[in-house]
Amino acid sequence: MSTANTVLLVVSALLALGGAVGTIAAARPLRAALALLVNIVALAGVFLSLHAQFLAMVQLIVYAGAVVVLFVFVIMMVGATGKVPRSPRGLATKTVSLVVMSVVSLVLVFGVAYVSMPAAHLPHGYGTVEGLGAVLFTQAAVPFELVSITLLVAVVGALAVARGRTPKEAAEARARRAAEGLEADARLAEERRISAEVSAHGGH
């Protein structure tokens, strides 16, 4: 790995880490979204340092260009300017989870840092549009087709969860509300009758 490459990797990785922490630590939704943008752009830098040029470009276009913009749109639209409410969890829970997660992270970091990995042999055209396309449509055609089903499920699922009430459901909800209203009226009338009776018999 050349020096320039190492510098790119270290800077991008630190930025990505900072962005990730900022995303979950920011109290305002908009700041969290912008921190996510930093994380995503920095990750594109990490990909570049690994010779995955096409992936870096896709990362920028899809995530930075589309996903984060979508997040920002939604935040602006629903007007989520307020701060995130403080977590109701106690100090003990927070400390325990912090310790556990730190131990797990440190084990992972040291586990990965001092091991020898086989040096990867980069095939010709690795990371370019051409190279990726060739792999995708020759060797990995099956998973490529299967991913389309995953995306289809996501679309149908979003539709199923987010769509409005059907006319039948809406009619039912109206009927239920009306029935509840009638019930409340009846209860009120009953109460009036009882109180009238009580006052009529007065003093018993």
């Binding site: 586990g111 990995a140 055609a141 089903i149 699922g157 009430r165 039912e172």
Partner: protein, 494 residues
């Protein structure tokens, strides 16, 4: 016979899913989608059975296909179990969704694609297909839980499952990235070869193994990764709960076996002292004890069945833990257990659906009070279902537990203690299963309490008859099913 028969079940489901979307788009609300979905799933299952029996040579299939999707007998066996579970869930949905005015086409599309995802996961022989299958299955299930939009509980369960599920998937993905880094392979067989040759750093391999086991333990709802289970099971529409308990669990165990035996089958990773067997056995012990103890305290039958599913994950994990030694026997007992568990669960959940009607769902023990005497025919499947889950002869559940137990005992050593825990904890679990029967037949509803009124549905009745037949059949003559399981287990060993 044509070799494409081996992957035809996947194709049938993919096209059926697209077909149902088209039918729903062009004639909304008119077609009997539950019937279409069930037919497609049963057809896929039937093709798998035919392929299992015919002994097709998979060599004719293109290499690029075999590199990602298993075409062995184990894959076909899992197809049968998943298709059966999904078809029975679709039948239950046909009754349930109509009764509760939730009938919309999306549900069946999600169900059929989730089943397809589960089958891809169960057949994955490459880390890439593993992740695609996992996500396809999970995305569908998340949405099927959140399907009843007006219910806060459904939304809560779905969101919990979604967040924790994404987290678990990320952990699994991290593990797969590490094992790729350690071995340079994404195919399970290639990973297994490198590990067996000792060509990878042991620390990295164990780390990857631990992360992958955590990710998979989450999917089969084993302790301590079970937190989402009760809420998701209770909040989901009951047919979704059924699907989660049968198909998702089957796929989870299928890929766990493939991972542990094909990829991590080397002497170091599978060492009974420092490898995955003690890890899995520990998770199994925790699941059996926690599932059964927490199950005792429940007032909701649906929630009780969620804890029972945690306990059953523990029983199955006992067999997985010994699969490093008594390979054929252990794997076959896992496979048999999954089939028995599928039909028993459909019986229990299906009967719970049948005993409730719109606005009067049977969810708690109190709802069931006296229902057995008022509606004996609707309650009978529930009785058989809980008896089978309990492991009472002559039901499918008895032989399932029996095979796991004998396998664990045949290893000896520490596994004897695990077997003892299995017996004791299932004895504990008998209490909450029998409580269902006590409430059905020996209690009366409290004065003024709403009584559950059974619904009428040909779909649910058909599912119950089908599941009930197999629960009894597998309990009286288990041999043919066990032979099928042993035959499928062979494909892990070669």
């Amino acid at each position: 016979m044509n070799a494409w028969l081996l992957v035809a079940p996947l194709g049938v489901l993919a096209f059926a899913g697209l077909g149902i979307m088209l039918i729903d788009a062009f004639s909304p609300g008119r077609a009997e989608l539950a019937g279409v979905t069930t037919t497609a799933l049963l057809m896929a299952g039937l093709i798998s059975v035919v392929a299992l029996l015919s002994g097709v040579d998979p060599g004719e299939l293109p290499r690029s296909l075999r590199a990602f999707i298993a075409v062995d007998h184990a894959g076909l066996y899992f197809d049968v179990v998943i298709c059966a579970g999904a078809a029975l869930s679709a039948l239950l949905a046909g009754g349930y969704l109509k009764e509760h005015h939730l009938e919309r086409g999306e549900y069946y599309v999600l169900l059929i694609f989730s089943a397809l995802g589960a089958m891809i996961l169960a057949r994955a022989v490459d880390l890439i297909t593993l992740f695609i299958g996992l996500e396809t299955m999970s995305l569908g299930v998340y949405c099927m839980i959140a399907y009843r939009r007006t219910s806060i509980r459904a939304t809560e369960g779905a969101l919990k499952y979604f967040l924790l599920g994404s987290f678990a998937a990320a952990i699994l993905l991290f593990g797969t990235a590490l094992i790729y880094g350690a071995t340079g392979h994404t195919d399970l067989a290639g990973i297994g070869n490198v590990l067996a040759a000792g060509g990878a750093d042991a620390r990295l391999v164990l780390l990857a193994l631990a992360l992958i086991v955590v990710g998979l333990a989450f999917k089969v709802s084993a302790v301590p990764f079970h937190m989402w289970t009760p809420d998701a099971y209770e909040g989901a529409p009951t047919p979704t709960t059924t699907f989660m308990a049968v198909a998702v669990k089957t796929a989870g165990f299928a890929i766990m076996l493939r991972m542990l035996i094909t990829a991590f089958g080397d002497p170091l990773s599978a060492s009974p002292e420092t490898g995955w067997p003690p890890l899995i056995a520990g998770i199994a012990i925790l699941s059996m004890i926690y599932g059964n103890v927490a199950g005792l305290a429940q007032t909701s039958v649906k929630r009780m069945l969620a804890y029972s599913s945690i306990a059953h994950a523990g029983y199955i994990l006992v067999a997985v833990a010994v699969s490093y030694a008594a390979r054929e026997q252990a794997i076959a007992s896992v496979l048999y257990y999954l089939l028995a568990y599928t039909v028993s669960n459909v019986l229990a959940f299906g009967s719970l659906i049948l005993l409730g009607s719109r606005g009067k769902e049977a969810v708690t023990y109190e709802d069931l009070a006296g229902a057995g005497r008022r509606h004996p025919l609707a309650a009978l499947p529930l009785v058989i279902g809980v008896l089978s889950l309990m492991g009472f002869p002559p039901t499918a559940g008895f032989f399932a537990k029996y095979y796991v137990l004998t396998t664990a005992l045949s290893i000896g050593g520490g596994m004897v203690w695990v077997a003892i825990i299995l017996v004791l904890s299932s004895a504990l679990g008998a209490y909450y299963y029998l409580k269902v029967i006590v409430f059905l037949f020996m209690k009366e509803p409290q004065a003024g309490a709403p009584k559950a009124v059974p619904m009428r549905s040909g779909y649910v009745a058909f599912a119950l008859v089908l599941a009930g037949y197999f629960v009894i059949k597998m309990g009286v003559t288990p041999e043919p099913y066990l032979r099928m399981a042993v035959d499928a287990a062979q494909s892990f060993i070669s």
